[in-house]
């Protein structure tokens, strides 16, 4: 099945770059639909499912700019277990490529019946989607996630990942066990979120958000399940940000995270941040080309 056959729904809430990104999507697919301002991830996805006139539908998050090559894909959808297909998004600030911000294709019936986030009955489902065996993720990147539209947007994206990346199946682990029990991919992502960003406008807000999310989840009695509630996040932002020097606050949080959790993050300036990002991109692009392979050896 060629992907362009499915309905495409753009999901936005309050992102400052949403209109720009939706306009860009409509140039690539003029019939793209949009769900805007629906509170709660579960409700927003259900609204998208209701809007869809096809059995499967594609969701594009508001911070995403989609590579038009995505719409040329043909997908083998024979496996009846799979309810959601996902592709990686590339984060513009820190170069990370994973499911965060990526494009997804959902089975309409599944979405209408799922219970996640604000409607979840399980621990894990409180803060994220739980697809178990029904999810298939592809490593190819088909979108850029641009979260730097405003200080708040960047901070919120960083904060949410700072929370989620230290949870194990949606549940907090004792602080001293984080480094051992949390999947190393998530620790790696947390390190990038917590350090790389100074080279981009508003990028330091993402760095600060990631560190604050990690701190509040693991070193305070804050109820991390509230990470799903964008209004609560707005209050946290207003209470914590803009009251001092951002660089000083980032360093201060870094010191505290080192002492309490053993997470040792340097403070990168703009040049160091850009250098790290470029090197990271190059390393990924090198991939298997680094060693010349010789046939039959």
């Amino acid at each position: 099945m060629k992907i362009i056959e499915f309905d495409i729904v753009f999901l936005s809430y309050d992102e400052p770059n949403a209109d720009l990104h939706y306009a860009d999507l409509c140039v690539k697919v003029p019939w793209a639909k949009r769900v805007h301002g629906v509170k709660g991830s579960d409700h927003a996805h259900k609204a998208a499912a209701e809007l869809s006139e096809t059995d499967w539908f594609i969701t594009v998050d508001a911070d995403n700019i989609v590579d038009p090559a995505f719409f040329n894909l043909e997908l083998d959808m024979k496996d009846p277990k799979i309810q959601v297909y996902g592709w990686c998004g590339r984060n513009k600030i820190n170069g990370l490529r994973y499911g965060n911000g990526g494009i997804k294709i959902w089975k309409k019936d599944f979405v209408l019946n799922m219970k996640t986030h604000e409607n979840s009955e399980s621990d894990r489902g409180q803060v994220d989607f739980c697809w178990e065996d029904g999810y298939r993720n592809f490593p190819r990147v088909y979108s850029d996630s641009v979260i730097t539209g405003s200080p708040f947007q960047a901070w919120r994206a960083g904060f949410r990942e700072g929370v989620k990346m230290t949870l194990l199946d949606g549940v907090r682990v004792p602080p001293q066990e984080i480094k051992e029990r949390i999947w190393w991919h998530n620790i790696h992502r947390l390190r990038m979120w917590s350090t790389v960003g100074a080279h981009e406008e508003n990028g330091l807000y993402a760095v600060y958000g990631a560190r604050l999310g990690t701190w509040m989840t693991n070193c305070t009695d804050w109820n991390y399940i509230d990470v799903r509630d964008f209004e609560i996040l707005k209050n946290i932002y207003q209470e914590n940000v803009l009251h001092g020097s951002l660089e000083t606050d980032i360093k201060d949080l870094g010191d505290r995270l080192k002492t309490h959790l053993g997470l040792d993050y340097p403070c990168l300036d703009a040049a160091q941040s850009k250098f790290t990002l470029d090197l990271y991109d190059e390393t990924i692009n090198l991939g298997l080309t680094y060693y010349r392979t010789v046939d039959n050896v």
């Binding site: 060629k2 056959e5 209109d19 003029p30 019939w31 949009r34 040329n72």
Partner: protein, 344 residues
Amino acid sequence: MYDIFFVSEHNCNVELWNKCKSRFPNSQQIQNCNNINQISERALTKMFWVIWDDLCVNETFDLNGYRATKWDDMYVHIFQNGNNFDGICLFPKKLKISQREFDNRFFTEKKEINTTASIPLQQHYDIIFISFDESNADDNFNKLLEKFPRAKRIHGVVGIHQAHIEAAKIATTSMFYVVDGDAVILDNFNFDYLVPRYERNHVHVWRSQNPVNHLEYGYGGVKLLPREKVLAMSIDSADMTTSISNNLKVMNDISNITAFNTDPFNSWKSAFRECVKLSSRLIDRQTENETQIRLTQWCTVGDDVNAIEGAIAGREFGIKNKNNKTELKKINDFNWLREQFDGR
């Protein structure tokens, strides 16, 4: 030289086909065509041309003189058709084209060729004038009819949604223009917008001039609506336009003056309804800043006391009932509006 097909969605446009045949004797005709396979299975060349029967081929464009280069002969070459890229196509025979791409004439693997190879045939969409009790409605309709004899009228249907559904029922074209009963069409607006093939399910809204507060936006503007979508729309929503289609295109040009201030009740009613919509944030994707400016202007600018009074009352009602769909829906009930006006 590639095979050339003159393709009709329904019956063949004989006049255009004859023209095509005389210019390109090697062309073949396909009628009642609704998928790419009906064409590609008849093609014997690596690529093939499709001339759609809703466009006129430019006299200077020579299909037989054009060749795709080797490095891009795997893409659909789509040529400019007037202002849009929905015109003559050169298809690779082996390329898989989905039904949705074919229906919308919008392809994912394409090369847009910046040559105006054709112009679209004029789309004479029906014009339907919808009136209820506007005191200037007869005058406005007669003026419209004088310039556009194809205009039709729906009068006295209770309920905004129902009136539009009735309009869709008498429309004979796939899209139709809607002119409100209080709209005075500007001389330079000609109901001749050429809709690209891929935007035929979009709601198009032109801007109008407000004679009281001088705002210029979609309020009271001419609309171009997809007929099937109107017939299928939900009548439960308070805002009719956004319930027709999720795809809304705001047009930059001004179509008319919305002369709503003809008598005290109509001034009050129109201002009330619009300010309920603005203050309750009823319309999806309203820009907060823009909404606030419009609301303030409705409530403060102009010398029509009834309009300003209606705007203020509407603002209060909208704020009070922001999430109460049942209450908000009342703004489409003209009898209820009359009661509110009389009971001030």
